[in-house]
Amino acid sequence: MAGTARLWSWTTFHREYFAGYPLAPPYTVLMVELTEGVRMLATLPTDIDPACLYCDQPMQFRAFELEPGASIPGFAPIS
């Protein structure tokens, strides 16, 4: 897999939805379309400001360590 995608859309959560989730709001969830054509949800790594996002932006896979020992799919803009 290429590990690349385009950003289809995203939403930033400003309230807590799941008690005990390691990320405190605000956090941003992405819907990306992989270069291979598959759509998937991903988390925006917290060092990236969602203000820089735009639809159809080229993205690169970057695993996001939610808590020690637990990583989830993340994508970051290709700078």
């Binding site: 289809w8 859309s9 995203w10 939403t11 930033t12 959560f13 400003h14 309230r15 939805y17 799941f18 989730y21 990320l23 605000p26 956090y27 969830v29 819907m31 379309e33 759509r39 998937m40 949800l41 991903a42 988390t43 735009y54 639809c55 159809d56 939610l66 989830i72």
Partner: protein, 376 residues
């Protein structure tokens, strides 16, 4: 080729509507049990239709156990009973079944009831819904989050829709101000809307439906012979489910909406331009745009401009959610919107009456879309 007349076009009518006083229930300190709420709406609908409990021979519940309700209400010798989950998407299937039941002679008089209570186990509308594991690992909070994603994408493809969402919220509120039973009636300014907290950005607080206690009852029977009187006919109705990719599809609403709309309008023998007022299941304000486009009231992508031009206000060409919708009147999951359509078509909507309304359309867009056309 001559237009084929659908055998069930206008065959069944809504002859009774009843609902609780949502505003009064909102200020009660204690929640009311759902069966008590249902009883209030049933009493009102029976009185409205001038019927007795013994006249009811079919019962459809939404979000309520039909058997407990039947015992509680003394509804006996029921020939058809159906129990749906509560949800706007079930309103049209429930009406379809009622229409078919009376047309086929399986039942004569169908009572449909929805009740929602804080005492029942239903969720905060902004809370997680039926999440998959893949949603849960990202703390993707419920259907509103998918509406937020779709709204942002809609803006990207068709132009910024944020002003249109604000217009929907404000128009609903202005309508609710004329409805004594509405929960939220205080005026809403642009600044009020813009100043409200973000939830699933780009959606703000006033883009969300409320959570409240209440109930709605409808009574459906064969369209009476002779003058319509207060009966409101069900001209056409259709649903279309596309659960393939559910909310995560690139477009969860348009294809099922188009399919349902084509069948609904063909059954009714009408086009969107024949409709005087509309009621849209506004769980979140973007659903209004998706329904306008999906059901063909606007060309694809032009719903936001249509709303911004003021067409959906009570003085506009296509008044929307004339009782305040789910964001300002009550969140009775579509049933209060159908009740409002009936009241408008009867000319019984009081201060908020849209003069001369003869046709109305209810629409709900989710991965399962549905709509119905009502006329008088």
């Amino acid at each position: 080729m001559a237009e084929r007349h659908h055998p069930l076009r206008g065959a069944a009518s809504i002859i009774g509507v009843g609902s609780t006083d949502y505003a009064a229930l909102k200020v009660r300190s204690e929640a009311v049990p759902p069966l008590d709420l249902a009883a209030m709406a049933i009493d009102a609908a029976l009185a409205d239709a001038d019927l007795a409990r013994a006249d009811i021979d079919a019962l459809t519940t939404m979000g309520l156990p039909w058997d407990q309700l039947a015992v509680r209400e003394g509804l006996r010798d029921l020939r058809v009973t159906v129990e749906y989950a509560a949800g706007g998407r079930w309103v049209v299937p429930a009406l379809q079944h009622a229409v078919q039941s009376v047309a086929a002679g399986s039942a004569d008089t169908v009572l449909l009831v929805l009740a929602l209570s804080r005492l029942a186990t239903y969720e905060d509308s902004a809370a997680p819904g039926t999440n998959t594991l893949f949603e849960a690992m990202h703390a993707m909070g419920g259907p509103a989050a998918h509406s937020a994603l779709m709204a942002r994408r809609y803006s990207h493809e068709f132009g910024d829709c944020s002003a249109a969402l604000r217009q929907v919220a404000r128009s609903n509120r202005a309508n609710a101000a004329l409805n004594p039973a509405a929960v939220f009636r205080q005026p809403m300014t642009d600044a009020d809307y813009d100043g409200a907290r973000l939830i699933a950005e780009p959606l703000r607080l006033f883009d969300y439906c409320m959570v409240n206690d209440g109930a709605v009852a409808l009574i459906v029977t064969n369209t009476p012979a002779g003058p319509a009187g207060r009966a409101v006919a069900i001209g056409g109705l259709a649903a279309s489910a596309d659960q393939g990719a559910h909310y995560s599809a690139a477009d969860f609403y348009h294809r099922p909406s188009q399919a349902a709309a084509a069948e609904m309008f063909a059954m009714a023998g009408l086009a969107p331009s024949d409709i005087d007022l509309i009621q849209i299941y506004d769980n979140y304000t973007p659903s209004v745009l998706f329904a306008l486009d999906g059901f063909g009231f606007t060309p694809r992508g032009e719903a936001a401009r249509f709303v911004e031009a003021g067409h959906i206000t009570r003085d506009g060409s296509l008044p929307l959610n004339t009782s305040g919708g789910h964001t300002s009147e009550a969140y009775m999951q579509g049933m209060n919107l159908v009740a409002e359509a009936v009241r408008q078509l009867r000319g019984e909507a009081g201060e908020r009456q849209i003069s001369g309304a003869q046709t109305a359309c209810y629409m709900c867009v989710t991965p399962m879309a549905g709509g119905c056309v009502l006329w008088t």
